[in-house]
Amino acid sequence: MSRIKDQMPVLIMGTGLIIYGLIAKTGALEGLAKALHTHKTLDLQITMTLVVGAIALLGAFINSAKEPGNSNFDTFVLQPLGGIVLILVMAMAIRWYMEPLVKIMSKSLQPLLGFKLYKVLNLNYVVLGILAGVVLTNTWGIPKFAAPGVKCARFVLKMGVIMLGARYSFAELAKLGVYSVWLVGFFVLGTVFLVLWLGNIFKQPKSMTGVLSAGMGVCGVSATVAVAPVVKAKSAEMAYTIGTILSFGIICMFVFPTIGKLAGMNPVQFGAWAGTGILNSAQVAAAALAFNAVDIKTLKVAEIFNITRVLFLPIIVLVLATWFGKETGQKLSFKSIVIDKFPVFILGFLLLFAMSSMGLFSPPSHYKGKYIDVSYNDRTQVTSEEWETLNNAMSKNAFSGLSTEQLEAVTNLIEQRQIAGNYDDRANKKEFDHVGRSRMTQLEGVLAAAKANQIKLSGEVKSAIKHAVKQVHKKSKTVVTLTNCMIWFFAFGLIGLGMQITKKSITQAGGWPIVMGVISGITKATLSFFVVLWLVKDVVLN
């Protein structure tokens, strides 16, 4: 009987999901979804709620029918199920309801406040998810039925990172890799030495400066956890350091994207800055997604920096161990520091990268799942109204300022109602494709010229040409779906990690670590901001 009681929350969530899915299936939610601008996701909503709901119910029934066992199925599926369903429900509620609601509310509050709240605080689903996790832990605490499932967060986040590997090209990885090694290397070592030097000035014990320097230098709490036993930190030192780093990191998560947007950083610059300046690696991912949650460019850059930092961590541990070891005479083997700490999932990241480089997800002619298709297709045609507009403009000689090639492209667009090669050449694919692409380039030139006010075109004509160009830009469904999976993984992982942040660990901040931490953290963030703006200007991702 008590087992059924334990499973009650899961049963309720499962039933709720199925009811929601069925209601959505009848089409009753279309009006609501349209108002929230989520109607495009309705199909996904139905599938996800029904599938997750069914699994939740099934699992809850099995769990309440049988004694909890020790088998693999028990530890990996049945016990974590409740927590997994809880996080999924939170993720779905946030993505489909809370985020749109926050947007609508902050839009209506705009006249009152003078700015859009969600834009300033970057309240997209990732940030909202982490906040929801933090709020849940610190108010009700993680419910008992969910505790084993919440532990899956790290696992799912790793899956997200592995999947992200599929989105890089060789050139990108090489270029970003070089940047990240230089920037991370410089700032990690710089901060470590800065903190050690500060510790020397303020005459603080070595164990404390050791812990703090690693935490401020590499990856926040993770580094603190790795270094504390090595430098034999005292408990108060650890508490202060972790508290300082956690609170600094959470502030960074909100402040960085806003500053980045104000400074007009591009995605690459912001990713590089977040990857260097923000301490905790989960918060780096969160800030990158907060800066831009739709396009994953920023996340891609930030994650490379993150991985570089992870690879730097053992080096720092080794350096600090030698620095500290002189006194204690304690020796640490290369194996215990580098091999034991090597994160195997990075190999998975590389495997997916290799698979993607071999063209498994999209042929090499496609650029990361985006490609241009100029073949004949009804769907790539402009609408008849647009055709009318273009035809009228042509007859009124509105295209007078265009070059001969541009004029030819426009004429052909009107003739064929879409961007394509010559009809007679359709057997010769190469020639056909070449002509079609060059016409597209010419039309893009027309749009650019109109934007620069070199020629005058009416808004309707411009939008018609824009539509025609857009129609031949296709996205590979495979890559789009893979990216969506990855974003869900990240959202799940970050919500779960948010649940690990307790109020107590944050409010522990204090003592000398907070002084030294704030000095070094702000120095690092400011310096890296300027260095990134100065250096990373020219990396273009496509």
């Binding site: 532990k151 696992f155 790793k158 899956m159 495997l351 495979t478 893979l482």
Partner: protein
């Protein structure tokens, strides 16, 4: 600390370095597991994550590329 307190050894899996000794009178309910994850070791976790990713990738490829 009273050293004469009885200790018991419990199995904690790989992550807990095999086994650990706790005081017999320890409040096990409050002690709870310390592990971060449901897996017994990191290698298992990473490899499972990779396998899951490959399965996801395969399914996505199957439904968006090979079957259409």
């Amino acid at each position: 600390m009273s050293d004469e307190e009885k200790k018991v050894t419990i199995e904690t899996g790989d992550a807990g370095k095999g086994s650990t000794e706790i005081a017999e009178g320890a409040n096990t309910e409050e002690l709870e597991e310390r592990a971060l994850s449901v897996f017994s070791s990191d290698r298992n976790e990473d490899i499972t994550a990779l396998i899951f990713c490959l399965i996801t990738t395969f399914l996505v490829l199957l439904f968006t590329k090979w079957m259409v």
